[in-house]
């Protein structure tokens, strides 16, 4: 059956409208948060919600006055960055080994690694807490770096594994026949081919670490709290706090949104197309 030009146009319009609608629904909570951050507390609780109002920056000022934003931001930056780099250092050789030198147990090990993500984090809270207490690492960036690295490792290994699997084995074999050492093979052959996948893996884990709240809330107190801890501190059992909470949230997600915006090409490419497809 031939589709007329009119039908094509209708289909195009429908798809475009549907896409925008879905995008708007997904974006709406963020939009609401952004708008609320510029309201007074009284405006924030107005029913129905106000969309036209005189914006104020008082919430941002109060968050900055009450909390040391830069300290929380630095903690977020350091813990997420170092845990991502550390994770990649461990995950890349593991995924390489799983992808290019599989053994009879490779699949089982991969599934076992993933199975550690099946358990809710709270199940491991007490042993992890006691371990860090014993090591004197409670409320330290090192504790968060270790936990973030460990919790992201299964995802990293799996993502890199599927990425490496897409690289033709023959290319690596050819380099070996040409006399390349393992390091040269990795550096000059694998790395250029897998850079997209490695970048997207790193970016995803960076975002996951940045937004991680459970461990950050439970393992830190006065010194190593991340921006997720800052946001949680603005929730109040008795009193109005929506506007200030929104401002704190916006300040917390701001850097990672900007970062995500600039790296979205790599992120989407890595997640959807793989390295050499």
């Amino acid at each position: 059956m031939k589709i007329s030009k009119y039908d094509w146009n209708a289909l195009f319009v429908t798809r475009t409208v549907a896409s925008w609608l879905v995008a708007f629904i997904v974006f709406f909570p963020l939009l609401f948060l952004m708008v609320t951050a510029f309201k007074t507390e009284l405006q924030a609780i107005a029913v129905p919600s106000l969309w036209v109002f005189e914006p104020t920056l008082e919430n941002f000022t109060e968050v900055q006055e009450r909390s040391d934003y830069m300290r929380f931001a630095m903690n977020s930056l350091i813990t997420s960055l170092v845990s991502t780099i550390l994770g990649l250092i461990i995950a890349v050789p593991s995924a390489y080994s799983f992808a290019f030198s599989p053994t009879i147990q490779t699949k089982n090990i991969m599934v076992w690694m993933l199975s550690t993500k099946f358990m809710p984090a709270v199940g491991a809270l007490l042993p992890v807490y006691l371990l860090f207490q014993w090591a004197g690492l409670l409320d330290s960036q090192i504790a968060l770096i270790i936990v973030f690295t460990m919790s992201n490792l299964p995802i990293m290994v799996w993502m890199l594994y599927s990425n490496f699997k897409d690289i033709p084995h023959e290319i690596l074999e050819a380099s070996r026949m040409d006399g390349a050492s393992l390091w040269e093979e990795f550096r000059h052959v694998l790395l250029p081919l897998a850079m997209g996948g490695m970048a997207s893996t790193g970016l995803l884990c960076l975002v996951l670490s940045w937004n991680e709240a459970f461990w950050a809330l439970n393992l830190t107190s006065a010194n190593a709290g991340t921006l997720a801890v800052l946001v949680a501190s603005y929730s109040s059992p008795e009193g109005l706090f929506w506007a200030k909470l929104s401002a704190a949230s916006l300040m917390a997600i701001g850097p990672i949104i900007v970062f995500g915006w600039f790296s979205q090409k790599q992120l989407v490419q890595g997640l959807t197309f793989g390295a050499v497809k």
Binding site: E41, L42, I45, A46, V47, R66, S67, M74, N75, I78, L81, V82, I85, L125, L126, Y129, L130, Q133, L138, D139, S140, Q141, I142, I145, R187, L217, N218, S221, A222, N223, G225, A232, S233, Y234, S235, S236, P237, E238, G239, L240, F241
Partner: protein, 437 residues
């Protein structure tokens, strides 16, 4: 070359990590919640540090639920992460008894006798005080005087639930966006169950009999919960099963609720013109009674305690004495405003004419706090201490389970009878497991 840069960046970051782990000396770490009075106290950190130059304060503000789990984990594992923690009347006697908290001994200047006896008792175990109250609260009625007057009705100072129902019916006008009454419905032992327990107390119900067996299948519980569900279904706002303190505060400040029965601390919010559109027409009355007036209004105090694991007890005590003293109340009154002083803990606050002039809710709040008695809160004798809770470790899980059932009944998912039967089973199982009988 690129790899070299990455390695340099990595090394630099590790160096920054190591450098930022350095700790200051004589540093007190204080875990607290984000309540107005607590936030105000944080703003005056300088005043304390100026008077005590050898002590530095570090604040960790956490969400209430997170604070409880965080502090429980730390205290149970002797983590020593906090030197001072904000806890409530439920935790203080239980944790004190377990030896998790340091017994508080204050100097004569502190005037410990000035603290309301009921509050003091609620924070003690076996005669030892384990937490110093920062601000206290009971529960009372807050209502729209203009609407009641317009309906030609009158609110007695100590009404019954029948009086309340009559008034709520008279002021309920959803067509004009005003619902007769707003009450907590969100599940949680400190949320809907705080209110429902006081309602049940007034109906003559109680959590446990003298043999510690749960009493949730009693006719008194059924009558109380049926009344609660009917009242909110007929005259409450839609979605009441999701409402807690803040949701209702937003509704009443917007003029959408004719009446609210909740924490006395709310009085300062609803009568503040900067926050509330109906500040000038809000009036106050005591919580309603039915079969008895015992336990009709709760008692709670956000308090400061020193965990036994803290190695800075002497410094922590200095801070506790400062933050919960008469002088602190006067300091806030003079420097911030008498309407913003922490209330509900000291008799002297209610004798201060400047405070009485600034807070029109003061006499109602004082009457509510003084009438609450955690040691005698039920019509029939009960084995537990606490008005809106039973101060036993098992109560938290029982309260959460029952709260979920009550919320389901309010949402119409189960009948009141079914909800109470399930609650009784859950409570019975927990108490048996804990070997109470």
């Amino acid at each position: 070359m690129k790899l070299g840069k990455i390695a340099a960046a990595f090394a630099g970051t590790l160096f920054m990590t190591a450098a930022s782990i350095a700790h200051a000396e004589t540093e007190l770490v204080i875990a607290t919640v984000n309540n107005g009075h607590m936030v105000e106290m944080q703003k005056h950190t300088d005043a304390f540090e100026k008077a005590n130059p050898d002590i530095k304060l570090k604040w960790v503000t956490l969400e209430e639920g997170v604070l409880r789990s965080r502090v429980t984990t730390d205290i149970a594992t002797k983590g020593g992460q906090f030197d001072i923690m904000t806890i409530g009347m439920y935790e203080a006697p239980i944790w004190g008894k377990k030896g998790w908290l340091t017994e508080l001994n204050f100097s004569d200047d502190y005037a410990v006798d000035d603290i309301f006896p009921a509050v003091r008792k609620g924070l003690s175990a076996e005669g030892k005080l384990y937490a110093a109250p920062f601000y206290g609260e009971s529960s009372m009625i807050m209502y729209r005087g203009d609407l009641v007057e317009k309906a030609g009705l009158n609110m007695p100072n100590t009404p019954t639930w029948d009086d309340v129902e009559k008034i709520v019916k008279g002021i309920h006008n959803p067509d004009e966006g005003v619902y007769g009454i707003c009450l907590r419905g969100k599940p949680g032992w400190g949320d809907n169950m705080a209110f429902i327990t006081t309602l049940a107390n007034s109906y003559g119900a109680q959590w446990f009999g003298e043999d510690w067996k749960p009493q949730l299948d009693s006719p008194e519980w059924e009558a109380a919960v049926t009344f609660y569900v009917d009242l909110l279904t007929k005259y409450g706002p839609p979605g009441s099963a999701n409402n807690s303190f803040n949701e209702i505060l937003a509704l009443i400040n917007e003029g959408k609720c004719g009446m609210w029965i909740d924490a006395t601390i709310a009085a300062s919010f609803v009568s503040d013109p900067d926050q509330s559109k109906v500040a000038d027409v809000i009036k106050f009355a005591q919580a309603p009674s039915k079969k008895t007036a015992k336990g009709k209004n709760w008692l709670w105090a956000w308090s400061l305690a020193v965990p036994a694991s803290s190695k800075k007890t002497a410094e922590a005590m200095k801070f506790l004495e400062w933050a919960t003293s008469k002088d602190y109340v006067n300091y806030i009154g003079e420097n911030v405003g008498w309407g913003k002083v922490p209330t509900g803990t000291r008799a002297s606050t209610y004798e201060n004419p400047k405070f009485l002039e600034a807070a029109k809710f003061a006499s109602a709040e004082l009457e509510a706090i003084q009438s609450a008695n955690p040691e005698d809160s039920t019509f029939n004798k009960s084995p537990y201490v606490g008005v809106q809770f039973a101060a036993i470790p098992e109560f938290q899980s029982i309260g959460v389970a029952v709260g979920q059932q009550m919320s389901s009944a309010l949402a119409g998912k189960v009948t009141v009878k079914e909800a109470l039967a399930k609650s009784q089973t859950a409570a019975d199982r927990t108490m048996k497991k804990a070997k109470y009988y």
